[in-house]
């Protein structure tokens, strides 16, 4: 044993064995533990609550994302109550502005800014929708609630305006006047036009339009005059709309037209309606959405003799007839204000998403949620679903409308869709399995034959964040969002911010405080998935990101302490205004 040659041989053997073990076992294990490596995707997930906001316990559901077409590294993400917490009447921004999270380097770093204009006598900017115009101007639409103490029903008014995110110079900028009463307003801006955008809203209290319907504005300067109106379908109600605009001016809208002859308590019949119009150079060219009618489309879900199958000549093409959808469930709340079923989420017929095929503007992809059991081809059982998410394709290339279902996801909602330049479809959603929420992204290949499942979070129990149903229902919000630039997906979702539930996420806030001095809550997350990256670049990026965060942390701890200069007398005489 004391033979030095023998010892050297054994040491060498152990060394080689160790290296072999690392090469054969640990490296493949690491590779397979990271979905970005085996799918060939480069993934970055970030909790974007800023470091300075590390003590924040506010719930931030319903995030949306907008990317500047003229500078794709400029990204805006909105979510409820960012920068303003009306519960405690403590806020960061002034009473005349709302906050938005912005990145100017493609999502690596994020800043909370206060550019969203709002009337000073309003309380909340809610259901924010953002989009950039072709020249990089940021437009917002939002409902507001007034400070007036005699207003009870919320969403009293809707505003449309520019968010001047590049300046802090003046508060004397134009604050939009409230327009009409709409819920979940939706903004789309044409990427190849300058300072022009399209805003759509829908709500039952659309008094300006004389009842149920869609209201829209075509704005060239950020101000919104009286809206254009269109009645949706006779006798039906519309909760929300999603719109998508193609570069050639084709404008699609998708909504559930809910038939009113059911009780408000349980799933009721609703038609999923697709409308299309052509966007011209001015408002007069978008006066109608009457391109599509359903007389040529046979709904594959119902028999030809079903009363729901009778084609009509009303607005839009019905992609589904008499689908069962959850109706407004407010009256099902318990004494604690919590919504029943599926992690406090099932409540409204507003679960849908829409994206146009970038290669062919007569083809769209749409997702929606229903409660119709057992009808999908090859589906074993969805009878136990609270809600079932479906992804499908619609096209009228050749003059014949056709639909094809592509995916079914059980007990899932908050769909968001985008399609890359190479034809990959991305579907982000949130799924309820075994009393836990998880957020996923499904990405197809170019032929839509194979789907890669990228988990954006680990499973998370709904009971974990301190949850006040009355204040923050629904738990995760009614939507998440997804956008695409070339072959890169950019998205945002809200989820439990417990770092253990988000092992692949970077945190801008101090995550060591979470679960100790700061309670878990619902934070907005940003994610970016590059589908065209090589595996070598992904490995390098992974190592690089770890080194970058290590460097940043070291820089934070090693920064010099502030030096207090000697105090000298003020040059400003008391009572005198400086300047």
């Amino acid at each position: 044993m004391s033979d030095p040659v023998l010892i050297k041989t054994r040491v060498r053997r152990y060394l080689y064995g160790g290296i072999l073990c690392v090469a054969v076992v640990l490296i493949p294990a690491w590779v397979f533990s990271r979905p970005e490596l085996w799918h060939g995707f480069k993934i970055d997930i970030v909790d974007i609550v800023p470091w300075e906001w590390s003590a924040d316990v506010t719930v931030h559901p319903e995030p949306t994302i907008a990317i500047s077409p003229s500078a794709p590294d400029t990204i805006a993400v909105s979510a409820y109550l960012i920068g303003r917490n009306p519960a405690s009447e403590e806020s960061f921004c002034s009473s005349e502005f709302g906050g938005v999270l912005m990145s100017f380097d493609g999502g690596a770093n994020w800043t909370l800014r206060c550019p969203l204009p709002k009337p000073a006598d309003s309380k909340v900017l809610g259901d924010l929708s953002l989009d950039f115009t072709g020249d990089g101007k940021l437009l917002l639409a939002s409902y507001i609630t007034k400070n007036s103490s005699d207003v009870l029903i919320p969403r009293v008014q809707t505003i449309v305006g520019w968010a001047e995110y590049e300046t802090t110079a003046s508060t004397e900028r134009s604050v939009p006047s409230p327009s009409v009463k709409v819920d979940q307003p939706f903004v789309v801006a044409s990427p190849n036009r300058v300072s022009q955008a399209f805003v759509v809203g829908s709500q039952q209290q659309l008094t300006t339009c004389g009842g149920w319907g869609l209201a829209w504005w075509w704005t060239t300067n950020g101000s919104a005059g009286p809206p254009n109106c269109v009645s949706t379908r006779e006798g039906t109600a519309v909760m929300a709309v999603r719109f998508a605009l193609a570069s050639d001016g084709r404008l699609y809208g998708l909504f559930f037209a809910v038939r009113p002859d059911e009780t408000n308590a349980n799933p009721g019949p609703a038609d999923l309606v697709l409308v299309r119009g052509k966007l011209g150079e001015d408002a007069s060219a978008v006066a109608s959405f009457d391109d599509l009618h359903d007389d040529k489309l046979l709904d594959p879900w119902i028999g030809a003799d079903d009363p729901c199958a009778v084609p009509d000549s009303e607005l839009g093409s019905r992609l589904r007839n008499c689908a069962k959808v959850p109706k407004d469930a407010w009256q099902q709340r318990g004494p604690d204000g919590c919504l029943p079923n599926m992690g406090f989420q099932v409540r409204n017929p507003n679960q849908f998403a829409l994206a146009i095929d970038p290669a062919q503007s007569q083809t769209v992809y749409y997702a929606y949620a229903d409660r119709t059991p057992g009808l999908a081809e090859g589906e074993t059982s969805s009878a136990v679903d609270s809600i079932t998410l479906r992804l499908a394709r619609w096209s009228d290339v050749g003059g014949v409308q056709q639909t094809q279902e592509l995916l079914v996801v059980h007990n899932a909602l908050n769909p968001a869709i985008a399609v890359t330049a190479s034809g990959r479809i991305g579907l982000a959603y949130q799924q309820w399995i075994g009393d836990e929420w998880r957020t996923h992204m499904l990405i197809s290949d170019e032929n839509h034959a194979k789907w890669a499942n990228v988990p954006l979070t680990d499973p998370s129990p709904a009971s974990e964040p301190g949850y006040n149903c009355g204040f923050s229902s629904p738990y995760l919000g009614d939507y998440i969002d997804l956008a695409v630039v070339d072959n890169t997906f950019y998205g945002t979702f809200s989820a439990n911010n417990n770092p253990a539930r988000n092992p692949n996420a970077r945190y801008l806030r101090d995550k060591s405080m979470l679960g100790t001095s700061v309670a878990y809550t619902i934070d907005p997350f940003f994610f970016k998935i590059e589908t065209g990256a090589s595996r070598i670049s992904i490995v390098m990026a992974t190592i690089g990101s770890r080194l970058t965060s290590l460097f940043e942390r070291l820089r934070w701890w090693m920064r010099p302490p502030p030096i207090l200069p000697p105090v000298r007398g003020p040059r400003i005489v008391q009572g005198q205004r400086p300047g």
């Binding site: 300075e52 003590a55 590294d73 009473s95 005699d150 802090t168 009355g470 105090v567 300047g579």
Partner: protein
């Protein structure tokens, strides 16, 4: 690879020099209470600090310019009078302040700053709305001035409550009932706007503004079951508690708000401003003078 901070493009910096700046108010210890109340109403931060650099910035969102100062916040939490709850403490930290003209300030000058937020990233940038030179004013005086301003705001809120209320009284909550939605209420309720109501029975102690109510009678007071995102200031009533209450007739609400609930004999409180501490009766008397 991620882009290191040093490589961030300059275009992300906020411009603070191109437009006319709103003027910040200059306060003095002898300024009227209303001036302090106005400054508080416009600001989300109030703290003492010392100017440490002119035309500099600690925030990558705000470029150094003739409108920026660096201010070292006093390393004493007692001199941070207002700051958003979710933020890390400002105490002892250097922040960027956007002002009308940086050259009007001298390095080393202490101020009580009233400001609101502009940007948060690796640093904090605020916009000053009012300043109080703090060289000759101690913390106790500052606290007294701000307390007087807050007191004046509460007085104003109580005056508004009395004006909008049908009746104002002190009372004790005897019972609370959750209103179960009926089919009629469900049919009438708008989507997402359906309100969950509770009903409190309140025994009236002393009347300050009378309607057809009388002392020691019991009144039914409707209130929202819980705060919501849109109505975060919903009042809270609990059995056994006593309050100063300003009520309106339930029938004064819109039919949508009432959601099919009979309004006969019912009153309503809408915001937390309608249900105040019993000690605010002094303010009612002050307001009525």
């Amino acid at each position: 690879m991620r882009i290191p901070i040093v490589a961030l493009p300059l275009v992300c910096s906020l411009s603070v020099g191109a437009q006319a700046m709103p003027q910040a108010d200059m306060l003095t210890a002898s300024s009227p209470v209303g001036a302090f109340a106005h400054a508080l109403a416009r600001s989300t931060f109030a703290f003492t600090g010392v100017v440490t650099a002119l035309r500099e910035s600690t925030s990558r969102s705000v470029s150094p310019s003739s409108h920026t100062l660096v201010v070292l916040v006093r390393n004493n939490v007692d001199t941070i009078f207002r700051s958003p709850g979710g933020m890390r403490s400002l105490s002892g930290r250097s922040i960027t302040l956007v002002v009308d003209r940086a050259t009007d300030f001298v390095v080393g000058t202490p101020f009580l700053f009233f400001a609101y937020g502009v940007a948060v990233d690796n640093g904090i940038a605020l916009r000053a709305v009012a300043l109080l030179p703090a060289t000759r004013i101690d913390r106790t005086t500052m606290s007294r001035l701000l307390a007087a301003a807050l007191d004046s705001q509460v007085d104003s809120a109580v005056r508004d409550m009395v004006e909008r209320s049908t009746a104002v009284f002190t009372g004790t909550v005897e019972s609370i009932l959750t209103v179960t939605p009926t089919d009629s209420m469900v049919r009438r309720a708008p989507w997402q706007g359906g309100l969950a109501w509770r009903q409190a029975t309140v025994r009236i102690g002393r009347l300050y503004k009378a309607h057809d109510l009388s002392t020691d009678s019991v009144v039914k007071v409707m209130f929202l079951a819980a705060a919501t995102r849109e109505r975060p200031d919903a009042p809270v009533l609990a059995v056994g508690t006593s309050h100063l209450v300003g009520v309106r007739r339930f029938s004064s609400l819109t039919p949508s708000d009432r959601a099919g609930i009979a309004s006969q004999g019912r009153y309503v409180v809408i915001s937390s401003g309608d249900v105040r501490p019993a000690s605010d009766t002094v303010r009612v008397l002050r307001a009525s003078r």
